[in-house]
Symmetry: none
Subunit: 219 residues, 2 copies
DNA sequence: CGAGCCCCTTCAGGCTGCCGTCAGCTTCGC
DNA sequence: GCGAAGCTGACGGCAGCCTGAAGGGGCTCG
């Protein structure tokens, strides 16, 4: 698999390059967007690792440009900006995943592997939970074999439950998971999203513990 | 798991403390390095969360001091400095992980869980008490392997007993624990809830000390 | 640049079941 | 055996939850 790394921080870049190489992949490393464009016209890559803050522009624009030209090469965003808005912007721009710096190199390997599997035809690991088949990497859920589309918030909420199966999660905890550290929510948003998840995935999927919170139901 | 939080920002500190508590861990929070040293000489902790910039010195020095004295308590660094040099310095000084502010509280939980697992091997600590298996984080109780659902009040009461095993707790103390300061309870609410707990968990679980209060029974 | 669409948040009305209260009974200490 | 303290079944009120609907913001497409 050929990977193009676009990162201007030389220390981090070298570390990432070495990690990928150690995983047995082939890497090209550039530090500017124009160099990235050159490299991509010369070679076809299977995956881009894209820093968002670069000397000659923001990576978001570069990514949007790619997608509007119909390029579907998988992209993982590397960013120090860990505002939720930036992640959402990145994903909306067509990124497949993101990593917030600083990150573990092993985590990087895992995400690369996940994206690679998604595009290589090898099936991702599928969780099954009752009538549900969940592909975490592809962010897709099937209910009785039928694909159920989830919105961003719904997926985030569902993921929070999947991460701690059977554990009780208070509304406060779920809000922390869905919103930024400082975000203020002053209504029953969580209830509404839980309600929508139940409607889509089945009413038994999430159990209510009155006065305490919610938990993932038994399969 | 006992966690010591060393952080001088009161807003962030309170948020972190609440998150950890919500995860079912026990937290002590200090704002200075000398207070941290005091706390550590008084108690043994399973994990330190260490801010690097503190009113009475840099956390790095504190951490190095710990390690040279042979202390191997896991340390997660919390820092606003997201320079690579600082991370490397922190890790070289003997930190096990780091979090760059601002960070998601859920991410904090994940890292704590990861360190905890690395050092204990258990995903969630399970207390056993006679026929009961208690998972504080998940807020679940199993009796002879069967899940016993508790309501909010029942859980709060049960937690109060678990926090002080074997210790006598007066009805007044329990009321304080269950209700806000200004609470007015003018009946036998505690008796009723104790009765309900006994019915669910077994009659031996809570012993009555006539005229004095209640205590958790022996396993 | 405007229209249309989708998603998210907010709100309100309705419902469920938890909790506090009470009463009658049991247990305990003396 | 007597009084006080504790136990527990029953029940109504209301806090907490559910959900349909509406409004607004952002994105896409023409």
């Amino acid at each position: 698999m050929r990977i193009l790394l676009i990162e201007d921080d030389t220390t981090l870049g070298a570390a990432v390059r070495d990690q990928i190489a150690a995983d047995g992949q082939s890497v090209d490393w550039v530090t500017r967007l124009d160099a990235a464009a050159d490299a991509m016209s010369a070679t076809s890559y299977d995956l881009l690792l894209l820093d968002l803050m670069l000397p000659d522009g923001r990576g978001i624009g570069f990514l949007k440009g790619l997608r509007t030209r119909g390029d579907v090469t998988p992209v993982i965003i590397l960013t120090a900006l860990d505002q939720v808005s930036d992640r959402i912007e990145g994903l909306n721009a067509g990124a497949d995943d993101y990593l917030v710096k600083p990150f573990d190199l092993s985590e990087l390997s895992a995400r690369i592997g996940s994206v690679a599997r998604r595009y290589s035809g090898n099936p991702n690991p599928i969780l099954t939970h009752g009538p549900l088949d969940i592909d975490l990497a592809a962010r897709s859920v099937h209910r009785d074999g039928r694909h159920v589309p989830l919105t961003a918030r719904e997926w985030a909420l569902f993921e929070a439950f999947l991460a701690r199966p059977g554990q009780l999660l208070s509304k406060a905890q779920l809000e922390e998971k869905l919103y930024a550290f400082d975000a203020e929510v002053e209504s029953n948003t969580i209830e509404v999203h839980v309600s929508r998840l139940r409607k889509k995935l089945g009413s038994a999927i999430i159990e209510t513990e009155r006065g305490m919170g919610y938990r993932l139901g038994k399969p």
